[in-house]
Symmetry: C2
Subunit: 316 residues, 2 copies
């Protein structure tokens, strides 16, 4: 038998599964590695959501992927057989960025916001009434030149949002740097997430959004406002927006330092525990076996192979 962390309980019987579902009223799901894996649904995920709906439980989705807007996530849920997911139940970190610029940072509508990142950020900023610049501007694919006009700061830019992008090049990072250093580093610097990597196809591990955020943090020598998981600021926004009771909410995710920490730092679930780890994404059984002695904020309350296994137990 493998050594198990004392505080992490494996859900492996019907009774345990029922007890878990009975205790919580609200479920926060990470998406990639939990509901789907790249383009494919995780077997049983649609059934679990259906089951929760029937039981009058409520749920929302929170993902550190900043590349995709809520509109496009709705289409993805639909396509994967999870219909009728309302837009206001989906919290990708691109939307979190727009939300926090407006509510917490009070950046006035109509302001320009410099973007290093994908279309999701641009779409959500526009929807919030901002004018995104940078981002997918084709001029940022020009050959790099120190005389390029985009290196001259536009004084109408009032904040900078940085997230994942595969279009990452020297033009994009050097233009973004001018804004991060401008006015003695005082423009707000929002980072969509802190994830280092994600599991790619063919056994690869690929750089994630946090790698771009930390590149800019190091180069500009200044800190950023993290609007993705595990930010408590984001959790508080979601609980408020969805009217979830903190003590009755469980976080379900596949990553220890974002998802599990998000639930634990946010003190979800009261004494019953904050987080359920699934092993269908970035965390292995081996890592669970070695959790003993880890930072308690990254130790899940429960774990199970996948959300599909939870459905199997409930049915079994």
């Amino acid at each position: 038998m493998t050594k198990k962390a004392l505080s992490t309980k494996k859900i492996s019987t019907k009774e345990e599964a029922l007890k878990l579902l009975n205790h919580y009223d609200h479920f926060l799901f990470d998406c990639d590695g939990v509901i789907w894996l790249g383009p494919d649904i995780i077997p049983g995920a649609a059934e679990l959501i259906e089951h929760l709906t029937k039981m009058n439980k409520s749920y929302a989705f929170v993902t550190n992927n900043s590349s995709v807007s809520r509109e496009n996530y709705m289409k993805k849920f639909e396509k994967l057989g999870i219909p009728n997911v309302a837009k206001n139940l989906i919290f990708p970190s691109c939307y979190a960025a727009a939300l926090i610029l407006k509510r917490d940072l009070k950046i006035p509508e109509g302001s320009k916001v410099w973007v290093l990142g994908d279309e999701g950020i641009e779409t959500e900023l526009k929807e919030a009434g901002y004018v995104p610049v940078g981002g997918n501007d084709p001029a940022l694919d020009d050959a790099w030149s120190p005389d390029h006009p985009l290196l001259q700061v536009d004084e109408d830019v009032k904040a900078v949002v940085v997230g994942s992008t595969k279009k990452f090049n020297y033009m994009r990072v050097s233009t973004t740097l001018q804004y991060l250093l401008h006015k003695n580093r005082s423009l707000p610097f929002v980072g969509t997430n802190i994830d280092r990597t994600y599991p790619g196809p063919n056994g690869t591990t690929l750089p994630a959004g946090g790698s771009v955020v930390f590149y800019m943090k190091f180069t500009a020598d200044r800190d950023f406002i993290d609007v993705g998981k595990p930010s408590s600021r984001l959790l508080d926004s979601i609980l408020k927006n969805c009217s979830f009771d903190r003590n009755k909410t469980l976080m379900v995710g596949d990553t220890l330092y974002t998802d599990v920490k998000f639930g634990n730092d946010g003190k979800l679930g009261g004494e019953a525990g904050s987080s359920l780890l699934v092993l269908s994404g970035g965390t292995s059984q081996e890592e669970v076996d070695q959790l003993d002695g880890e930072d308690p904020s990254t130790v899940p309350s429960y774990y199970i192979e996948s959300v599909g296994h939870l459905v199997d137990l409930l049915r079994g």
Copy 2:
């Protein structure tokens, strides 16, 4: 009068300049910001080198720019009016990388070395008997695809060298990541320097080599072997190669956390002091005025406007 750090002495009279030059036998010069600024020589730099030669002082050049090979630095010195600088007196960090792979890390000649960086690294690796791969391979400018063959690890690669490059794109960072994670992160990871930025034209500040090194460090979640300034490993190599007496050597540079720290950490100069800061590059008078209370390893022993001012004082 401005407040001055107690331990940093401004060189401002002929007597002080003479005393400085008399005490030291060997001089280590940073290049960009000290000897030249981009394409232009710093006024007086050629005269100082000539003066040192006449006085039978010895000197070497050590730069954290990994993009240019020693051969090309020799051509640059010649072109800027500093003739006959021997190749074995020039230590760019691309050469330092090759030197340390061979001497310290004992990577066998003939091994492949994965490169994220410019031609300088490839040239110096080849000269040391290695086979650079990655680097400027035009396939790394292909559109990114997770199925690209370069994402499959070549088992003949025995080390990874990362330095500055403006060709920085997702293909390059994701291929490099596969090598940094390979075999439980055990392939040696050499970073050419830790510099965040350098002063660009038109008032810009641009990302430097350390930004690429720290991107890979964060994403691969592992540390690197720093072969640039302020690495003591590099200083020891130079002192040995050039037969310089540590107690009689002065470091001359324009950057506090690389050049000055290099001299101070290496205990150059004995009690007379380790480093002379020049203000012709990345450090301003304002920063010198605020040195009080800083980490003592980044506080220079002396400072002066530029190497040209030193020549003026000696003549005056």
